[in-house]
Every structure is written in C-alpha cells, then in structure tokens.
Symmetry: C2
Subunit: 407 residues, 2 copies
C-alpha cells in the first residue's frame, strides 16, 4: 500500500516529536507499506519568520514572504530525513521545486495546478520514505508560492490523489473530529466518521481540524481521510463521501467562531446593484464576507448587515468609507464586535425538518437572543452575543444529545 501521512507543526516541534514521527512511520514500513510524509514547519516557526518579516517591512511583498516562510517546511523535511537515517531507514526530502508541485502565481494563497509524481514514485521504488514540504509550491516562472492557511493538509490530499494512494492520514494534536470543541463543550464526543460536506461546513465555521480547501480537494478526488493524533494510537475520525452509520446523524457537530464582527450599512439607496457594488468592492480587497442579511429600511432605503473576520474589520470599514461618496451611498455604518457565530452541521438535516427550530428552542430556553440567522442544506448558523457563546454551544449540544453515540 502507498500511504500519505501528514504531520502538522506540533508533531515536528522538537527532536523528540520528530523521532515520534519516525516511529509512527516505522510501524507502517514493517507492514511493507510505501510512505510519503508531508510535513509542516516546526512548531511556531512560520510565525517566527513572519515576525522577522514584519519587523523588516510590515508591508512586505507577498512574493518575498512566500520565499521566506517556505524555508520552514524545508528545515522540517531535512531534519526529519536525518532522523530516519539515524534509525537506519532510507529517506529523502523533497521541496516543492524538486517534486515539482506546480501552483498558480497567487502568492500567499496559491492553488495547486499539477503534481508531477515521477520523482516521488522513483524515490519510493528505490526504497525511500519520501518527505515532502507541505504548504508550498512553485509557479511556472519558478517562483516560490505558498498555499495559505491549512496548506499542508491540501498538499497531503493532493499528493494522495495524484499517487492514487491507498490512505491519507492527517496527524494532529487532537484525537479526531469532535461534535464540538471540548474546551467549550465538555461533553463533546469524538466522531468515528463524518462526510466531506459536514466537514466542509465545520471547517469553514472554524471548528474543524482540517482546512476546508483540503476537504474540498479530498471530496473532489474521492480521497478518504483519517484525522488522528500523532501522540496516541486512538482510532481517529474518517472523513469520506458517505458515512456507514445505520442512520445518518441529524446533527454531527456544533461549532463556535468568535473571530467575527458585524457591520451594518444603514439607509442604502434601494436601487438594483447596490449589494453587488458593496460586496464587489470588499472582494477586491480580499475581505471575505460571511453571513449577509438584507432588510427594508425607512423611506425607501434598505439596510445590509454582514459579518467579517475581526482582523478584516478595519479594512472593510476603510473600503466602505472610501466609496461612500460614490457607489456605496448610505446614511450610516455601525459595527458590533462582541458577537459570535454558533453553528450546527449535519448531513441528516436534509431528511429531518425542524432541526433549525430545535436549535432555536435550545437558545430560547437559555434566553439567548439571536441577532442573525443563516442556513444551508446541512448547516444552521446564528449570530449571538459573544459572552453567551459557550452557554449556547452547550445548550445546543445537549438538546441534540450529541454526547451519545448513534452507531
């Protein structure tokens, strides 16, 4: 079998952890498997490098930032390769150039275009464990790129797809995917299985261990993932197309995201294209907008509220301000920063009407006011006061009895 294993930054943070990676791989090698191991930068090394860059130039060119941070994974694969050698195991490290992992030229959030598997296969056939730098690529002009947050997961899934690997294992510092963040909901339970779509929603909502781009790619290419801990031998969570549970879970998990702020644009002209212009300008400045709510205002105007990441709030307000005299004519703009998104996700929702109502009932029982609502086929999200987020998550988790296994 060909197995792709991905270890995150905490799993290679120091000598002891690096040797732990070698041990985990040895177990598979003894069974005769061929291994491709994708690694992130050690511990907080990416942040250390970004801090250095920020000290030199807070507005550094993205090309040079990618050139800089990509060294982090190269250090990881080289050191880990040395650890394999110390154990008498043949290993070779490859960076994005050496594979190559071809991407677009969008520095800091490049997308993978093509992985050449020839060298990987040759190295495997020569009996090597192949260690590959996660998170990074090269564009057609040989510039170094990075894939953005969660990029190493995406690298692992893409390699598993390109190699048609028999398994793709994502090692992290938690046991798998939980029904909720155990730090917020103490009764949270680890899921044995979850569908790509559920995982996507959980990831997007900030609750997931996996980044949504990696899950999207896994779904697209049908790569079955296992998310598990590098520190114990617990089973982990399988992420796949259809789960085997007798009955599909009505709700798989509860997610809380406090990294959110609400902007309300009040008294916009009620003309066609107003919403388009507003969000077009925001998109041009890479401000991702989440929940959007439009309501009729007074005197033939309309109000649009939406949420953005807290870190993008200032930028979003600046963009609106810049266009208030021209394309975004409005009476006022208000901001609410102390808010949180609480969401439930579950593929079973499609078959079970009344799931949203049950969630709202849980919040009503706790006397928690809902500020905004957004839904998809398999997700319900509410915006509430930030101080009530933990209480809301626990109440919802209890209401749907997520602490009980449905197997």
């Amino acid at each position: 079998m060909v197995i792709v294993k991905k270890f995150g930054g905490t799993s290679v943070a120091n000598k002891e952890r690096i040797y732990n990676v070698v041990s985990r791989c040895e177990e598979d090698l003894k069974k005769g498997h061929q291994l491709v191991v994708v690694l992130s930068a050690m511990g907080k090394q990416t942040d250390v490098l970004l801090d250095m860059a920020n000290d030199i130039n807070p507005d550094a060119p993205k090309r040079e930032l990618d050139m800089l941070v990509s060294t982090g994974e190269q250090v990881s694969v080289a050191l880990t390769s040395m650890a394999f050698a110390a154990k008498g195991i043949k290993a070779v490290s490859l960076n994005a150039f050496q594979v190559p992992m071809m991407t677009t030229s969008s520095y800091s959030h490049a997308r993978l275009k093509k992985i050449n598997t020839e060298r990987i296969i040759n190295e495997l056939d020569e009996g090597n464990v192949v260690l590959i730098t996660g998170f990074q690529g090269v564009d057609k002009y040989d510039n170094v790129t990075t894939l953005g947050r969660g990029g190493s997961d995406t690298t692992a899934v893409a390699i598993a797809a390109a190699l048609d690997a028999d398994a793709c294992e994502i090692y992290t510092d938690v046991d798998g995917i939980y029904t909720a963040d155990p730090r917020i909901v103490p009764t949270a339970r680890k899921l044995d299985e979850i569908t790509y779509d559920e995982m996507l929603d959980l990831a997007t909502l900030g609750a997931g261990v996996l980044h949504n781009r990696s899950v999207e790619m896994a779904k697209k290419y049908g790569v079955q993932l296992v998310v598990r801990s590098s520190l114990n031998h617990n089973e982990g969570t399988i992420v796949k197309g259809e789960t085997n549970t007798m009955e599909r879970l009505m709700v798989s998990g509860v997610a809380v995201d406090k990294n959110v702020a609400r902007i309300s644009v009040i008294g916009l002209d009620d003309n066609p294209g107003v919403a388009f212009k507003l969000f077009h300008h925001l998109a041009r400045y890479n401000v991702n907008v989440d929940i959007i709510l439009q309501s009729i205002g007074r005197d033939g105007t309309k109000d649009i509220s939406f949420t953005v990441e807290k870190g993008k709030l200032d930028e979003a307000l600046a963009v609106i301000d810049r266009h208030r005299k021209s394309s975004i004519k409005c009476q006022s703009v208000s901001v609410e920063e102390n808010v949180a998104k609480v969401s439930i996700v579950g593929a079973g929702m499609m078959d079970h009407p009344g799931v949203a109502a049950k969630m709202f009932e849980a919040l009503f029982d706790e006397n928690i006011n809902i500020k905004m609502i957004s839904t998809s086929e398999i997700r319900v999200t509410v915006l509430i006061d930030e101080s009530q987020a933990e209480r809301a998550a626990n109440a919802i988790h209890d209401k749907f009895e997520l602490e009980l296994s449905r197997r």
Copy 2:
C-alpha cells in the same frame, strides 16, 4: 555598469545591518548602476542549523545537511528584498534553483558548473536589484548542494564572471587585506592591492578574508575583486592579476596558522612507493596534508613528517594505524600539537633572492627554532613552536618593514 556585491553573514546579521546593505546599494543605484547582490546566511544561522542537525543525527546524510543549511541564505535574500521594498526600491530574491546555479553532486563541497544568466539579466532589465543566495547550488537531478566554506564568495565571483560584470565587491567586517592579522601584529597595514597568487597563498595559509576557491575562480576568469568593509567607506583592497605598484612588493604579508599539528612517521622501509601509499591512504579519508618533509632515518629506513589541521589529527592517526601492518610499515609514529605555521607571501620574491634568508634571520634574532621549512615561488613557510608564533610574526613584519607603504 553591472556590479556584483557580496555581503557576508555579519553584514546581514540583523535588521539594522540589512538596512545598511540597502543603503550601500542605494549609492550605486543613484549612479545608474545595475546590481546583483549575493548574500550569506544571517550571522551564525548556518551554525545554528548545523547544531540542530547534529542534535538529531550527528552522522546526518550530507544531502540532507545541504537541504537544511541552504535555507539560511534563502531567509537572508527574502528579508533583504523586503527591506529594499520598504525603501521603494524594486528587488527580487532568487535561490539557486531559480537562477539556476548548476553544480556537481558533491554535497557539502559541490563545484559550480554553469550559471544560467537569463533570469538575472531579465530581472535587471526590469529594474530590479537581484538578490541571490550565496553558497548553494542545484545538481542536475534538482538536489540542493552547497559549495563548502567561503562558498558565497565563490558564488559572487562566478556570477560576476558569467555576467561579465564591471565590478565584484566583497563586503566583510574588516577593511581589506592586511600585511598581517592586526590582532597579532599591531603594526599591520592594509594593502591597496594584492595579486591573485599572493591572495591565494594568504588564503590557503588561513590569513585571508577570502576563501581560496573564490580567488582561484577570480584568477581563472580575470574577475577583479575589491575586498572592503560594509561598515565604513574606506577604500578596501583590490585583488587582481598584476598590481600597479611602482615596484612589486617583496613581501605582501605575514600569515600565522595555529590550527596545525605535526605527525612524524619514523623508520619507514626505504622502498619506492612508501610516500605514495602513506598520502594516498590519507587522501582517501579527506585528510589534507600540508608541509611534507622526508629525511633519511637509521638502518636504511626513512622518516616522513607532515602537518595536518588539528581537527584532522585523530583521523590521520587512525588511518596510519589501520595500515601499519600492511602498506605503511614503520617503527613509530610521533605527534607534536603545539606548533604553528608562520608564512611570508609576496609576488616580488621571484625577483629578490635572499627573502627566505631574511625571514630566517628575523627568527634567529628572536632565538626562535625552526622545525620545518616549506617554500613555493612566492611563499616561505616555517613551522615553529606555537607559543612563539606572535613574536615570530612581529619580528618578520618588522624585518621586512611591512608597516611602511611602498607606493
């Protein structure tokens, strides 16, 4: 003009120094010059990386060591490029892959084979300062290689040669090449000019700022070098084929090398091939031998003495011991560790008989005993007691009146 500038590790050790590099380059840019800047890893970063490797695996594969340490220069060029951007100067960083700088596959001491100048020229023509990682290359299989000690100087010279650059400036933390190490000989004087051959001898003898490989390459391709400080605007020393001084200097400098040990192999059979076998075995284990002295021993045997680096002493003795029963039959082996090499170098020696005698006179006046002597056309080296090295260097420096300029 196209100028290649090389800055060493101390010149990019921190933010302030990096901005100093930018300032030095700005002066040239204002004059309309195009700049290629070769950088080493920041400060002691290469040693930090090697320590990490040594902690993981003291016997790490050289391929992986090169993969690891090459990240050091990549960090330097990326951060420096950001500093240029902060000053509004267009710059682009290139690693060995991106140039590419093709080398042999000899990890940790690869030799440059070919530099493709197309991308460098394109980037210069687009108005960029081109920042290139020193010390590293790629072999034909895309593996990362490094050039060994002094590698960044070699990179700079090679690029200057490939581009047919108008100047190649080596920036360091000293003002240039001195007649002797000023820490040992207080009256040492900075040289305005020195020939490649003199510089080669000084470099080989451990006294030079430049590594001999870079000087060899400069000589081969006729690249005129300037060695100067990155911290002041003093003139520096020009290294070139023929110096312009009215009269060639009889002696250009005095060098002291304490990193040396003497091995004497006593009572070897006086057969043809004995010396060959001894040095052949040592060469196979990469033990570089310096001064060699052979003398007739007793009873039809011969004695061979030679010097090695102190760090190679144990290895050299082990090699000899391993072959004492077979090809290196001898009566005994003795070692002397407290020795030092003191050398004088000067292209003018060829025209001035009696230079060696004058050196020996200086030592005799100081009552310093000479243990071994070795000479070349432009160099005289003696081996003396380590404790007398400073006194010897000063006496010789005084004898040849090197503190006086001969211009």
